[in-house]
């Protein structure tokens, strides 16, 4: 078993690392690149805590092999804020108390960003179905959905 060299773009920056061929992108992010914001809740694509955006598509990084990231663009929670300025989704999650323990939060934020990237004006039902792959056991989703809808409204305002 020889390690493979992987060059990829993470949050806009070129990075390189060595990966066992069976290593997941999640493990590469966490263990090779010290980006521990993406979480492992299940390792089987059922909880969404490891959600990242890969070439513009929301994926579970636990269901991507690290070598697959070769030459691709990866966006993680660590890249969501602009420097010290929070993304409107991050700000709205805080204002609406849309997190309790905070473990699912990075994945939910990335999934919400991916939603608003393709659907700036989702209905409540669309938001709920889009986010159905992100388990949250603390909040009952109420405040999360409200935060996403509010952030969507704010982002629409910014575009006007």
């Amino acid at each position: 078993m020889s390690k493979q060299h992987v060059s990829t773009i993470v949050n806009g920056d070129p990075v390189e690392f060595l990966a066992d061929p069976g290593m997941t992108l999640l493990d590469a992010l966490r263990d090779e690149l010290d980006l521990t914001g993406s979480k492992e809740g299940c390792g089987s694509g059922d909880c969404g805590a490891c959600s990242v955006i890969l070439d513009g598509r929301l994926v579970c990084s636990c269901l991507v092999l690290a070598p697959e990231a070769e030459g691709r663009r990866v966006e993680t929670i660590e890249g969501l804020a602009h420097g010290s300025e929070l993304h409107p989704l991050q700000q709205k999650f805080l204002e609406h108390a849309a997190l309790q323990c905070g473990f699912c939060t990075p994945g939910l934020l990335m999934a919400s960003k991916a939603l608003l990237d393709v659907n700036p004006d989702p209905t409540e039902s669309e938001a709920r179905y889009w986010l159905a792959g992100n388990l949250c056991r603390c909040t009952g989703y109420d405040k999360i959905i409200r935060a996403v809808m509010d952030a969507a409204a704010e982002l629409r305002q910014e575009r006007v």
Partner: protein
């Protein structure tokens, strides 16, 4: 130590070569394979990623038919307006596979070749008379989707073969399809029962062609032959729907497991076949 290699060939020929070795597994989206790897249920020596093969990702139209590359994600399929218009049932079935995250990766070919009896897209593809383009050491061949799965986890693909494309035929006017599944939650579950229905109507709304397929009620997705007899010639009236319900139930050979009992699955097969037929009929322009 277990040996594992990852290859991402750029051509179909290279992929065939890579898949020829012992313990090689083709990977499209990887949403099933990576789960099996982690659980120790799959122990390949080589993973052959199909996504970098030219043409493996993307959707093109030829004479009204749609050719869907094996590694095209569910999300991309759902965004293809012409495909959604022509084959809404196949698209909705594809888009029901897993979460939004899984949609970013999961593919029709992967859903098929994983050979789960409960795969959502398979009954819809069978109802659509979809055909697989298969590449292997013996060259290129075509096979209908229903000929691929032979048993849970088993396919008719020979060593070294893989599905490169899936073809959905051209649609006449007044034709449509639908797929419904039953799950305990609203999302994120494996189908307890799935039903795909494809219909063609004449100008008067009479069904001239019908294809019905059921998932999760037998070791492989079923083509319900008697369902066509129940529907063709009707305007989907109550009598036709009752016949369809009975034909669907008669076709079932389900098991009882953690996801549902055999008795329940059989009942639901009839319910979903009826409901999916009604949706397909309405989409095709029929007035029920």
């Amino acid at each position: 130590m277990s040996q594992l290699d990852y290859l991402a060939p750029a051509t179909a020929d290279e992929a065939v070569k890579a898949l020829g070795g012992a313990g090689a597994r083709a990977m499209a989206g990887g949403t099933d394979l990576l789960v099996q790897l982690r659980a120790g249920r799959a122990k390949p020596n080589v993973i052959v990623d199909l996504k970098r093969i030219a043409g493996a990702v993307g959707i093109r139209q030829e004479a009204g038919a749609f050719i869907i590359g094996a590694a095209t994600s569910g999300a991309a399929i759902g965004e293809h307006a012409a495909l959604v218009k022509a084959w809404p049932g196949v698209v909705e079935a594809t888009n029901l596979i897993g979460s939004t995250q899984v949609q970013g990766r999961a593919t029709l070919a992967g859903n098929l070749c994983n050979a789960s009896p409960a795969a959502d897209s398979v009954p819809a593809m069978i109802a659509a008379r979809a055909v697989c383009v298969i590449i292997g050491p013996g060259g290129r061949r075509e096979a209908p989707v229903e000929a691929i799965c032979t048993a849970p986890g088993r396919t008719s693909l020979a060593p070294g073969e893989f599905v490169l494309e899936i073809r959905l035929p051209a649609r006449p006017a007044r034709a449509s399809d639908a797929y419904l599944r039953l799950i305990p939650r609203t999302e994120m579950d494996i189908a307890v029962v799935g039903a795909g229905v494809s219909l063609v109507l004449d100008g008067a709304g009479v069904i001239t062609d019908a294809q019905v397929s059921l998932g999760a009620v037998a070791p492989t997705a079923l083509l319900v032959a008697d369902a066509s007899l129940a529907l063709v010639g009707s305007k989907l009236d109550e009598a036709a729907l009752a016949k369809l319900d009975a034909a669907a139930r008669d076709a079932c050979r389900p098991i009882s497991d953690k996801r549902g009992t055999a008795e329940y699955r059989t009942k639901i097969a009839g319910v979903l076949a009826r409901r999916a037929a009604a949706i397909a009929y309405s989409r095709a322009g029929g007035q029920a």
